[in-house]
Amino acid sequence: MTMPARPSVVPAWRPRRVAWGTLTTALILVALAVTDVLLQPALLDLVQIGLLLQTALPLVFVAAAQTLVVLVRGIDLSVGGIFVVANAITAQWVGGAAGSHQLLLLVAIASGLAMGAFNGALVAGLRFEPFIATLGTWTIFSGIALMILPTDGGTPPPILTSIILGEVFGIPSAIVIVAAIFGVWRAIRGTRFGGRIMAVGADEERARLNGTPVRRVKLAVYALAGLVAGLGGIYSAGATVSGTPTAGDAYILVSVAAVVIGGTSLLGGRGGVGLSIMAALSLALISDIVSAVNFDVWVSVAASSGLLLVVVVVRALIERGSERSRA
């Protein structure tokens, strides 16, 4: 059987490929989850799962944001910067103000959207390389966050914390939020906009010829990614009851790792937010397992990087094999 070089050539063929990737990613997640449960049987409890997801959620948000940008064949180094600006605004301005928390929270949310749109304008409007544009805005946003909140601290609004640490119909909020991100992505994926994201990522020129407004789609994707990364910062401020204006940098490269482990192609057009969420949860499970068995922190670092390396090496070898069999 001869296979088309680009999945976009035969759309009917694409779902099977994605399902394969989903299966492996899900398998890794399940294996790690089972290991963790075997080590700590107490984990089989909604509250415990909620606590675990709570620590994983900042990365889940950032990884979801990163995925959106990678799907249109970009990369966003500024997700860490957007994260901390929204985080700092939440801790410093929203909490500091008396009264209208909800309104100011909207400002924090809008800040993420605005920063993402700025990235989008650089990439789609001025045709900057995504890497360079977001390298520049990463440091700009990080600086702005430090101006708003120079050191760790501040007071995020209590209502935010009570929502984040609370429950919805007896289910911990963290679980609901992860499910909601999944759900929103599935919904977006099903819309015309979702199809356009994949089309632009798979082959920009073809998408343009098919009448897709490529630049508008890119602008929207970067803005949406900014919104999501900002939500991560807001969540983190609420969950830890403090602002941390330097916390973002740690998430930048890890979010790329999560995207790759999940199976979204850095070349765009293939993969999805759901995959990256599973990978982000896998990374959280790794560090949970390592601390459960009282190993040193290096084991966690080595295992995460090792997982990334194994996943890409295996994929590279499979790809080589299939290239050879095709030839």
């Binding site: 390389e129 390298l135 700009i140 702005i144 120079p150 790329v256 850095l266 080595a302 990087s305 990334l308």
Partner: protein, 339 residues
């Protein structure tokens, strides 16, 4: 205007504008406070710039060949920590430095293997290897909580001077001349550029693409480890996060120096200008009562404006030339579509 001069100007437009930017910033600094141009201030800036220069050396070659090295900060940490470990084991300082640089090159070779042989994306490969190096440093108990002592040889290298000139700046000059020669006059240098411009075309014209890429990562590993050695020598102690700021600055120096992140276009002399510019900028911050936060914003703006000027400024110049001699300069246009 002589045709030769204008040809030079066009070819080195990006590099020259990086030096011009650096000079303008320096003059602004001197006008603002005369101490900025004093011998000791210039010496200090040269030393700091050399750290960026060493960290960005491999990064320049890797980016020129169309790659990227995210493991630079961890290799710098490795350079300092491993050096202090080996030196405390009784290996003479000078020899330990050589060994550490060789070990760094070896780690770079792992990056190179993944990218060149397995065709793993450079971002992913160097990210994973960086993580493993970090794990190694955390694992083997080399890190001391109060910071690791560095051998005298590294301290001397970073702080001695010959007459008024710091030794490390001289070393940087020699390295820059050698790298400039490598890129401009040797087959390896030509291949690096060719691979970065288009690996398909390079392959078709007989360049060993894999080996060329591999070499750039090996050099990057060694150079980053050396950057870690001199930085630790300057600080007098070393720790895990010592290289952290250099992920950003090593890439930023290359970009401010006028290289294309897509590969093929750029030079180490451009990176030298980039390293000097970033250092002068950060030295100016106390003069203008800028905080660290302000510097970060300024850095970002400089990168964005610099890149925007060097690309659209370059095409404006090309358009001007095209009007002059009737030969349209298409390369810019073709590049942007190919990307």
């Amino acid at each position: 205007m002589s045709a030769r001069l204008s040809a030079v100007l066009r070819e080195h437009h990006a590099t020259l504008s990086a030096y011009a930017l650096c000079a303008v910033l320096f003059v602004v600094g001197v006008l603002h406070s005369s101490g900025f141009g004093s011998q000791s201030s210039i010496r200090q800036m040269l030393v700091f710039a050399s750290f960026v220069g060493f960290a960005a050396l491999g990064q320049t070659l890797v980016i020129l060949a169309g790659g990227l090295d995210l493991s630079v900060p961890w290799l710098m940490a490795f350079g300092g920590v491993q050096l202090s470990h080996w030196a405390s084991d009784g290996i003479p300082g000078g020899l330990a430095i050589v060994l550490v640089v060789a070990a760094g090159a070896l780690i770079g070779a792992v990056n190179g293997l993944g990218v060149a042989k397995l065709r793993i994306s450079p971002i992913v490969m160097t990210l994973a290897v960086g993580g493993l190096v970090q794990a190694y440093l955390l694992a083997v108990g080399l890190l001391k909580s109060e910071g690791n002592q560095v051998p005298q040889a590294a301290v001397d290298l970073a702080s001695n001077r010959i007459g008024p000139v710091p030794v490390v700046a001289l070393v940087w000059l020699v390295v820059a001349v050698a790298t400039g020669f490598l890129l401009a006059r040797t087959v390896v240098g030509r291949n690096i550029r060719a691979v970065g411009a288009s690996d398909v075309v390079a392959h078709l014209s007989g360049v060993n693409v894999g080996r060329t890429r591999f070499i750039t990562y090996v050099i990057s590993g060694g150079a980053s480890a050396f950057a870690g050695v001199v930085l630790s020598g300057y600080v007098g102690t070393t720790y895990l996060d010592i290289g952290a700021p250099y992920l950003f600055t090593s890439i930023a120096a290359v970009i401010v120096g006028g290289a294309s992140i897509l590969g093929g276009r750029g030079s180490y002399w451009g990176t030298v200008a980039g390293a000097l510019t970033l250092t002068v900028l950060s030295a100016m911050l106390p003069l203008f009562h800028l905080s660290d936060a302000g510097l970060k914003v300024v850095y970002g703006v400089v990168i964005l404006v610099g890149v925007w000027l060097s690309t659209s400024g370059g095409s404006a110049l090309a358009a001007l030339r095209a009007r002059g001699d009737g030969a349209p300069q298409r390369s810019q246009e073709v590049r942007s579509h190919a990307g």
